[in-house]
């Protein structure tokens, strides 16, 4: 990794990489600046397209002498320990106003070792309106050597007042073939499996990596798709929704459990508690806080997993609709061709569209705190009612 440039893992983003490398070089040109650099950036792109990777690669370039990525700086940025880099990455549902206030305060510090101070907010879309407003002043006119880099899925996720203060770099969705090539090159995955994973993950690099390397994740996705094909009646749909929720729970706990345990062990070690010994009462509140943080992360983790399931269902019904309308595009779920064909001929396109609408409703309801089970039930019940018409 350290031998390659930090941009190597970004695939299919030539244009965006050219922009930010040019900007980083321009930042060191002083009087001869061409205006390619500015103080506030917004990197947008669909989940998994490498927004935060680009942000850190850009940060590395800015923090390196002359704006050309330097391996030593890259290592510090990778470990998030570079003294002139401040990062706000939330694993909870929202970014709190206090976190942003602290970051805004630190924006006023001058850089210590590099020429610039770089502030990165991953998931800037997770800020509420009130929280976003805290940023405005600093975004518009930060101290001379401070650069803001925000990441969000799309410009529409941010307030107009933020959008007008940043320069936008858009990432495109990479081609599944490009993602598959990365999986083969980097992780040594079998090419056929890599392509299927890349297609089913809809070019989400992290998801594709998981599907390609984790057999359990593949099995969970397979069950999700089979459940969606199997919905026939309302009672069965309600029971299937429960199963889908269980799948989402397995999915998110597979991701978080190991980490939770590791963090707890690390925390106990740093507090000086022997493994297996009782925790002294004075330290319990610290441990409690860690557990609360983990619980919040689990809430977001479950929601993300349910949303992934909804995305899988969305892709599936898109494929069905493509077949029904004879659009002739490449299906996402090519491996389930027979089932898709059967569903496409048995049901009218209106039914498919109704389900697609229900999934869109569901994805809006999830962040509005509607219980995930109820959200999934509404989708599957719609499918059951529509398919029997």
């Amino acid at each position: 990794m350290s031998t390659e440039t930090p941009f190597a893992e970004l695939i299919g983003q030539q244009q965006a990489i050219e922009w930010v490398t040019a900007a980083a070089r321009d930042a060191y040109r002083g009087e001869q600046s061409t205006g390619a650099m500015t103080h506030a950036w917004l990197l947008t792109g669909p989940p998994g397209s490498g927004r935060s990777n680009l942000a850190y690669a850009f940060a590395t370039a800015l923090l390196s002498p002359g704006g050309v990525p330097d391996p030593a700086v890259a290592a510090l940025v990778d470990a998030r320990t570079h003294p002139d880099l401040a990062v706000l990455a939330s694993e909870r549902v929202t970014i709190t106003i206090d976190e942003v206030r602290r970051l805004v305060t630190s924006a006023a510090y001058s850089p210590s070792v590099a020429a610039y101070r770089v502030l990165v907010i991953e998931d800037a879309d997770r800020m509420t309106e009130r929280t976003s407003n805290v940023l405005l002043k600093s975004l518009e006119e930060p101290p001379e050597r401070t650069v803001w880099i925000l990441c969000a899925p799309s410009e529409a996720d941010l307030l107009p007042t933020i959008r007008s203060r940043v320069r936008v770099v858009r990432l495109r969705v990479p081609d599944p073939a490009e993602v598959a090539e990365l999986l083969v090159r980097r992780d040594g995955v079998d090419p056929a499996l890599a392509l299927r994973a890349a297609q089913e993950a809809q070019s989400h690099i992290g998801m594709a990596h998981r599907l390609a390397t984790d057999a359990d994740a593949r099995a969970r996705r397979d069950e999700t798709i089979r459940i969606a094909f199997g919905v026939r009646s309302v009672p069965q749909a309600v029971r299937s929704a429960q199963r889908l929720l269980d799948i989402a729970k397995e999915d998110s706990s597979a991701l978080t459990e190991e980490r939770d345990e590791g963090e707890r062990a690390a925390a106990l070690k740093s507090m000086g508690v022997q493994p297996g010994a009782a925790v002294p009462p004075q330290l319990r509140s610290m441990l409690k806080q860690l557990e609360d943080d983990q619980k919040r992360r689990a809430t977001r983790g479950l929601r993300d997993s349910v949303d992934r399931i909804l995305l899988d269902l969305l892709a599936l019904h898109r494929d069905v609709l493509l077949h029904q309308l004879g659009a002739g595009l490449t299906p996402v779920n090519g491996a389930y061709g027979d089932d898709i064909e059967r569903l496409a001929t048995d049901t009218p396109p209106t039914a498919t569209l109704a389900v697609l609408d229900a999934i869109a409703d569901a994805r809006r309801r999830l962040p509005a705190n509607v219980p995930p089970l109820l959200v999934l039930e509404a989708v599957l019940v719609t499918a059951a009612l529509e398919r029997r018409r």
Binding site: V234, V238, R239, L374, L385
Partner: protein
């Protein structure tokens, strides 16, 4: 493990040792230490007030001071308890002993060893394990205290006895029927029941009868989310809407009402196509047999598509009450009316 065995022995020793008298709130009498324990604040407050009245009647120069144990600094208690120039009797009321500071604990333990003369220390502990060492010491007889137990009045019989005592204390007669109506109208909060009793005692002449209670509290119904859901699913549209309005008027939030409806509709949908005895269906779907019986009763008159549409509307309503809608109450009303119409309306 050794520590646990030790504490068991200690408990046994304590149980055998001297125990202090446990009183109910209206029997409270002065003692060097009065432990007022239990979650019912109204009774605790009354016990403390009564104690103060008794002490003040004995010596009007009584000096009353208050201390919050949750942010007491070391020395606060000794300052309040140290003898004054003219030797007035003192009443020290300590609140929040259930969140006491370590400093207060140490000081209180020292105080129990040698309580000050002419001083009454009231410790208000509303439950929980914090400060257990202090409670055990007082209950073990250290300091010569008494305990006033203010248990929560959960059962109707207890609440009814409480209300009857209120009227007896005021030498006012209330008919048994009136008492029943009164107690059932104020289920949630003992303080509300107490103030209703006081209002009837002060504002009415003669005996309190059912008619009197009707005049003052007619039409007041305490209800909850499940009562609304039950009425709606039983098809009693009018009742359900009235109950919903009552629930909202008495402070119920639309969100738990929708959650209650969602859980009932979900159970109905899950077992809608299940056949066989309720015990078998219950074990197959991980429910209790009574839940299956209930859901089957609720399902009468429903088509399975209707249940499906009900779920869609529940999801929509849930979103509306949590965000989005201008009038969450209307959203719930619409849902209740739809359910009462068996999903066909």
């Amino acid at each position: 493990m050794a520590a646990r065995a030790g504490s068991t022995r200690a408990t046994a020793a304590k149980a055998a040792g001297p125990r202090i008298p446990v009183l109910v709130w209206d029997e409270v009498r002065p003692a060097p230490v009065v432990l007022v324990s239990g979650p019912e604040d109204l009774l605790a407050e009354r016990a403390t007030r009564r104690l103060r009245e008794v002490l003040a009647a004995a010596d009007p120069s009584l000096e009353v001071s208050d201390l919050d144990a949750s942010n007491a600094a070391p020395g606060d208690l000794s300052t309040l308890a140290s003898p004054s120039l003219f030797g007035e009797p003192r009443l020290i009321r300590v609140t929040a002993v259930e969140r006491l500071t370590d400093g207060f604990l140490a000081e209180a333990m020292r105080y129990l060893e040698a309580p000050a003369d002419d001083t009454t220390l009231v410790l208000r502990h509303s439950g929980g394990t914090r400060g257990k060492r202090l409670l055990d010491a007082v209950r073990g007889g250290l300091g010569g205290g008494v305990e006033v137990a203010c248990a929560e009045l959960k059962r109707d019989a207890d609440r009814s006895a409480f209300a009857a005592a209120e009227f007896r204390a005021a030498r006012k007669r209330i008919s048994p029927g009136a008492l029943r109506v009164l107690v059932s109208a104020f289920q949630a909060d003992l303080a509300e029941l107490a103030s209703a009793c006081q209002q009837l005692i002060r504002d009415t002449a003669g005996d309190v009868t059912e008619a009197t209670v009707e005049t003052y509290y007619a039409g007041r119904v305490e209800t909850n989310a499940f009562a609304v859901a039950d009425a709606a699913l039983a098809g009693r549209r009018g009742d359900a809407l009235v109950l919903l309005r009552h629930a909202i008027a008495t402070g119920a939030d639309p969100v738990p009402i929708v959650a209650a409806i969602a859980s009932k509709v979900r159970t109905m949908a899950r077992i809608a196509d299940a056949h066989g005895s309720s015990a078998r269906v219950a074990s197959e779907y991980g429910l209790a047999p009574w839940q299956v019986d209930r859901a089957r009763r609720d399902l009468e008159g429903w088509q399975s598509d209707g249940v499906g549409r009900a779920i869609l509307l529940v999801a929509e309503t849930d979103e509306r009450v949590k965000s989005g809608a201008r009038d969450p109450e209307y959203a719930v009303e619409r849902l209740v009316a739809f359910l009462a119409g068996r999903g066909e309306g």
